[in-house]
Symmetry: D2
Subunit: 344 residues, 4 copies
Amino acid sequence: MVNVGIVGGTGYTGVELLRLLAQHPQARVAAITSRKDAGTRVADMFASLRGHFDGLAFVAPGPEALRGCDVVFFATPHGVAMAQARELLAAGTRIVDLAADFRLRDPAEFERWYKVPHACVDLLEEAVYGLPEVNREAIRKARIVGNPGCYPTAVQLGFLPLLEAGLVDTDHLIADCKSGVSGAGRKAELNLILPEAADNFAAYGLRGHRHLPEIVQGLNRASAGPVRLAFTPHLTPMIRGIFATLYAPLKDPGADLQALYEKRYAGEPFVDVMPPGSAPDTRSVRAANVCRIAVHRPPGTDLAMVLAVEDNLVKGAAGQAVQNMNLMFGLPETTGLGAPPVLP
Amino acid sequence: MVNVGIVGGTGYTGVELLRLLAQHPQARVAAITSRKDAGTRVADMFASLRGHFDGLAFVAPGPEALRGCDVVFFATPHGVAMAQARELLAAGTRIVDLAADFRLRDPAEFERWYKVPHACVDLLEEAVYGLPEVNREAIRKARIVGNPGCYPTAVQLGFLPLLEAGLVDTDHLIADCKSGVSGAGRKAELNLILPEAADNFAAYGLRGHRHLPEIVQGLNRASAGPVRLAFTPHLTPMIRGIFATLYAPLKDPGADLQALYEKRYAGEPFVDVMPPGSAPDTRSVRAANVCRIAVHRPPGTDLAMVLAVEDNLVKGAAGQAVQNMNLMFGLPETTGLGAPPVLP
Amino acid sequence: MVNVGIVGGTGYTGVELLRLLAQHPQARVAAITSRKDAGTRVADMFASLRGHFDGLAFVAPGPEALRGCDVVFFATPHGVAMAQARELLAAGTRIVDLAADFRLRDPAEFERWYKVPHACVDLLEEAVYGLPEVNREAIRKARIVGNPGCYPTAVQLGFLPLLEAGLVDTDHLIADCKSGVSGAGRKAELNLILPEAADNFAAYGLRGHRHLPEIVQGLNRASAGPVRLAFTPHLTPMIRGIFATLYAPLKDPGADLQALYEKRYAGEPFVDVMPPGSAPDTRSVRAANVCRIAVHRPPGTDLAMVLAVEDNLVKGAAGQAVQNMNLMFGLPETTGLGAPPVLP
Amino acid sequence: MVNVGIVGGTGYTGVELLRLLAQHPQARVAAITSRKDAGTRVADMFASLRGHFDGLAFVAPGPEALRGCDVVFFATPHGVAMAQARELLAAGTRIVDLAADFRLRDPAEFERWYKVPHACVDLLEEAVYGLPEVNREAIRKARIVGNPGCYPTAVQLGFLPLLEAGLVDTDHLIADCKSGVSGAGRKAELNLILPEAADNFAAYGLRGHRHLPEIVQGLNRASAGPVRLAFTPHLTPMIRGIFATLYAPLKDPGADLQALYEKRYAGEPFVDVMPPGSAPDTRSVRAANVCRIAVHRPPGTDLAMVLAVEDNLVKGAAGQAVQNMNLMFGLPETTGLGAPPVLP
């Protein structure tokens, strides 16, 4: 039984961790912290959890709170995990950070995008980027896992086979991405309220979204050279889900892309390469830890087009975090993650 | 292991049964029928089920199709279960009908509302109404269970404690109910398409909805006398969920309603009486087999007001059907039904 | 040409006033104030208004700002209009308050619900409640109009004919109301963000909503005696619209309710009594200044049931305010309000 | 006063024509036809139109029905307009077809995509493509106008300045488009019902959407040479709106795109080039006849990215049709089209 701590459990990734861990037979939530809501029972904040975690209440953060945890998930804004990591590691606790502190390898790049210096560059060096489809073995042994962002998971899984095989012109990659509103977090912001966000479709982050360097880092690694990527995030009026429409000019128009993708992801428990001609939709992955991918050749062009869908809170956040935990603790990778998507 | 057959698995209650049974450790889906889609793999129709039920395909209906099933769920329009019930029972198969064939005790009432005579009045007499909170012991032994409708589940669970205790004037009951659109079924109807149903709120069924006699039958039983009920269904622009706002004039304004409800539902695994002052919402039960109830006294009135929420496809349909199956086969009642609601 | 000032134009009632006044041939917006956004052009805050009001920018509030206006609309929280009313009137400017300062006749009642003493009791006495279907002649001459709340408009218009005719038991009135989220205002609040409010249905304000005393005041007047009302507001996942389902026990079950309603509202330009058996929906009034009403007799009961729909931002707020302005300035009542609803 | 006939007025473009013409001071709807609903009053089918068009009922199609009309709008599936065009022209009636019969210049291309031969190739030759920003003068004199499709309007207006100026590599154009569900028409189809389409995002038409040849025809003309275009339509869970995200590799990265767009569309009443850095959203054009465009340079790339939004039923259909009618009859182009968008 893995003893789990959660730091910052009042956001959407936190409550999603609770939902998933409630069904996990080999993990139990030993502690959950929240500065603002210490003393509140988890089930009093989230009525959906009544009858689950009945004894669990938020406690104030601090070293005592997480003592004895085998692993701590940080479901916090950036900056929190790097401030607490050293102490936790010293106590023998391993870390999965769902924020950005351990995603970018380059501390200068981190500082450029997050406007604070990195607090523990040595640990950053040790940390493993938690995309199991790329780093599975390293994750098993990692003390710190930087859990990927929601957009980066979908975009990387979608592009990787093309880049690893060197089939496309990496100077002209496009990731046209659409996200449900929960991707923005559980925050009281005007542009997120239903009368603003419903029956509406909008682009945002056009001057550079923080997920851009993370994506580029992963694509550079896969292509073994620098890529140029246009990454356009859009907000679509739904609760959960990311839809990534990816375009890349093919060097060899005759390549068998379907076979390439099927081979690359053969045996992957949480990546589903759909049959030729498929049009994935986000509801086919709602609430489940899976990324579905379809590969297309737009008629009349020399492009490859890849459609990748995921639930931003599951394979794009909390589900992938649990998947990483399973790897880190020698559990079968799919433990606790077997529930089918919720449709309709 | 319970061998399960599903008749008519292409509607929302059918696919929801599949979703729930995929997680059920003591049941396996042995056969699923569909006249129109025989030969299609289940996972080809519902991409959400890819990786689950991989060997399962729809087969044409008929006695062969369901041979060897311990229980058959009818996720069909009314009229199908009563046509096949006798043969299945003869083969030793038990039945849970998610449609209306075995809900109304009075065959004349059935004929009045469904415009066809009942096909097997003797079996109707034997059938048990599948509301475990009322009929638990009878369900355990039943060969045929008439699984309650979605509105009737919420309205009955909401009213029962008041009626059983004789606390209200049963001549002036009101059930003002709001349903998500999936309650209308997986049907290509103009009023259900998104541009008609979204950003819209409408009443319907004002001349008499088919769930009215089912509700009245249950309330009459609980109050041991005839009730008069105004039942107003409304369509609200969401996928899943029923919200029932119930009003009844109190005979004794001093009654402790909170205690009454807590006592009535103590120990019930799937009815959650919320703390005093609570305002339940449908998302707190989304995708889970639970009915949450809050009891109120509107200021300045002599009314009791009860708010009851459920997921129309789970506690209002497929989840309750699995709960009934668990009872019928001596399994713990909560088997396979433990996943928390999906929030957000 | 009526010179219009708007105080507090950055909320939903403010921007809706701008939308409606853009189409009004006899009014022009001379000034619009906002403390926070002074200096910002209106069309820079609301892209929908680009090309309209091109010269108009928010100015800081203050007596100078509104000098020369024939009428000032207060699209503010409560408390603002009563603080500025005296000065405006002294300058010959008339007032339409879309907040609550001039709705409740009784200053003690105002203080009880709004937690501040009323700032100008004499003006409150003079003010006219701006429901044209009740107070048309008084509105024409009024210097101050208290524009009704959104729920109160729908509930009063729905109940009035029954109460004025003395046909119902006024001790057991029920108003089960459903509102789109814009009714809560343009506010960054957590429960209003799309992932909380979409695919969800919730009750709120169960301890007493501020619109309750306003509704009761109007119903008391209509029935010439005190009524008892249960008023239950619910939040439904749509942008605009109010749906009121009203119940009242009939004293005389033989009354011709359809004729009663048609007669009461004959000639009313903005109340539409629908044919017998109709089920109104909110989209049939979206963005238009109309309240549609259908009257029903739920089968098996002695109740009258009235269904009333309106757009909370139009007939429930800004549209009714313009209707009142038209009356106050001797314009045809429908001026600028003729555009049909937006459907779909 | 222009006497207007509408053929096929029961779909979304038909009812939108009615909504817009209700506000048009120089046009009156003289006749509206529907095979299926002949005899039904327009306001009985669309409650939103109660109080407008009170004398207007659907009549059976046929030459008599439209006698005396100055112009007839075809709001029908393809194939209807070309069957009736000759007779109407002979009677002196002009035609605006909102379907596809008069959009594609090449009858072979029409037959290839619509699977029927074109019925009147000579009239096709005479017809004018109704994009006023390109063909204004020809439209004024046209007897037949082929009103552009919804996607083609947004994509062409978005790309035109770049192509006309020869600034981009026309071999690698991408139009990643997102449409609200009303774009699919008022049809009872399973994939359009709310439980399928809400809280979901999907691609469709991946083997070639019928709007592709229309778009390519327009882009070829603008670039004076053949373009290669990937056009990916997606369905987003909203009622109205199209959002087009367009990508094109710049030949000259130093070009001043903002100035280019502002100059190209200077004086255009219904194309709004937004300020640099803007992120348009579809609600800023909801229910109004405007296309808003923002031009961007994605960081780190050599691409131009253009964001274009419109209401698919207005500038993408009925509004543009009225704009064309205004031109054809010598009215000011903006007549009847001045209402601001509906926000929220």
